[in-house]
């Protein structure tokens, strides 16, 4: 049997094709967010800096916070606060982290750092 396509059939097929391709492109774009590891630094509840954790290079960020200078170091996909001024130095004593579930929180300096990957993890949240 020979398949006969009229003009409407062709337009219809092309329409389906265009919609399919558009949806696939949108889905792929969403996928590409996954695996993009970054550490976001917030001061006074404003996002002020982003570390790219995908490369393993050492990098530093310094910022003047509530109690003075805070120095943050990133290396090998991890992040830590190396210098800050507070009574018990809770956030610099916390050391390295690469977990989305354990933000670094420097309450006296009104600063915190969260790691974001865009990936869903087995554990959604940790209670401590």
């Amino acid at each position: 049997m020979q398949l006969k396509l009229n003009k409407h059939d062709i337009i219809f097929t092309l329409l389906l094709l265009i919609i399919s391709v558009t949806i696939i492109i949108i889905s792929l774009n969403n996928e590409s967010i996954k695996g993009n590891n970054e550490a976001r630094v917030y001061l006074h509840n404003k996002h002020v800096y982003t570390f790219n954790l995908n490369n393993n290079d050492q990098s530093f960020y310094e910022i003047e916070a509530t109690n003075g200078l805070v120095i943050i170091e990133s290396k090998d996909g991890k992040i830590r606060v190396i210098e800050e001024n507070s009574n018990n130095n809770v956030c610099s004593n916390q050391g390295w982290t690469n977990s989305t579930l354990t933000p670094i929180i420097c309450l006296p300096n009104d600063l915190f750092i969260v790691i974001e990957t865009g990936e869903e993890k087995e554990v959604d949240v940790i209670v401590e």
């Binding site: 409407h8 219809f12 919609i19 949240v125 209670v127």
Partner: protein
């Protein structure tokens, strides 16, 4: 032609179904001396913004109201009540009045390790956590001083005027400390507002010891809450749960080391020293306030008394005793996976 429309219709319905998968939105901020994070699964970005604003404004406001250390314009807060101890009653917002009333009611039921009149003692310990003391100066508050101050921790010294919704502390040395109850209470109020605005699937982290989950993830699975070991922060267990508060009390949340001894913020009213019976208690409750209040009380109890109360109140819990043994209540044993 009709056939083509039918095909196109089925095609579009199928794909629009794919796009209806809820997106994950989250925002975080510091408030209430805590890290707060709201996670919402929704299709509607505007709805998320509304829910976030409720959360941010709510915690900022309740923090001011329950704050015992700072004054704010136009707000009669806990600091004002304390500053007027032995002087005059202070008229307060119904929310603050009710929190004080409900805390006294639970205390009067016998849960006396959480005492909102314990301020004179906790403020001595708070000096260790808050003041900039060099290590050589860091030492435990003198026990004789604490025994003297403990005369000012009688909860009956809080005088309630229901007609006027005012609070009066009888003696100048009285001091309220709502640290063990305020965040749970605020969380309940905020969650009630969030639900009214359509909060159906997500997580509210109100400080890392105070978690609330609602609904499920887009794939239908429940949220997994990791329970960490209070001593080394390793993951002990995972709890799959919804529409519950998960609230932890442990000696690891706020502490300093003095002579290799961990001095934490949960002070036993019987010894006036940091409680050292358990490593951590996590409660799974319907109310943030009840969870906050009772997790502090239960943290200071020996196992027999702990079990008696949790059975009486049908409370679900994860108890980590001082030997590191994990005890899980029957009610959540199916929902928990121990590592």
């Amino acid at each position: 032609m009709k056939q083509k429309f039918a095909i196109l219709f089925i095609f579009l319905v199928t794909f629009s179904g794919c796009n209806r998968v809820e997106k994950k939105y989250s925002e975080k901020f510091l408030s209430f001396d805590s890290y707060i994070e709201l996670v919402v699964y929704t299709n509607d970005e505007k709805q998320f913004t509304e829910l976030y604003n409720i959360t941010k404004d709510g915690f900022d406001y309740y923090h001011k109201l329950f704050d015992a250390f700072n004054l704010y314009d136009g707000i009669n807060n806990v600091k004002i009540i304390n500053d007027n101890a032995g002087i005059k009653p202070v008229k307060v917002e119904p929310v603050l009045f009710n929190l004080i009333v409900e805390s006294i009611e639970l205390y009067d039921k016998g849960y006396t390790n959480t005492n909102i009149a314990f301020g004179p003692i906790t403020s001595e310990y708070n000096k260790l956590f808050d003041e900039n003391l060099s290590e050589t100066k860091q030492q435990l508050p003198d026990l004789d001083l604490l025994i003297e101050l403990n005369k000012c921790t009688n909860i009956n010294d809080i005088v309630l005027d229901y007609d006027d919704s005012s609070i009066y502390l009888k003696n100048k040395c009285n001091k309220l400390d709502l640290g063990g109850v305020a965040k749970g209470y605020a969380t309940d109020l905020i969650i009630s507002d969030l639900k009214k605005s359509g909060f159906e699937n997500g997580i509210l982290i109100a400080g890392q010891s105070n978690i609330y989950t609602i609904g499920a993830k887009p794939d239908g699975s429940l949220f997994n809450v990791g329970i960490s070991n209070p001593v080394n922060q390793e993951l002990l267990a995972t709890l799959s749960i919804s529409d519950k508060h998960i609230i932890a009390s442990s000696g690891e949340q706020r502490y300093i080391m003095i002579d290799n001894e961990r001095i934490h913020h949960l002070i036993d009213p019987n010894t006036l020293r940091p409680a050292n019976i358990n490593q951590g208690v996590t409660l799974v409750t319907d109310s943030g306030f009840i969870g906050d209040f009772l997790s502090t009380h239960l943290f200071m109890l020996e196992k027999d008394e702990f079990k008696k109360i949790t059975e009486e109140l049908s409370l679900d819990y994860i108890l980590i005793d001082n030997n590191g043994e994990i005890i899980i209540s029957d009610g959540i044993s199916d929902a928990i996976k121990v590592k």
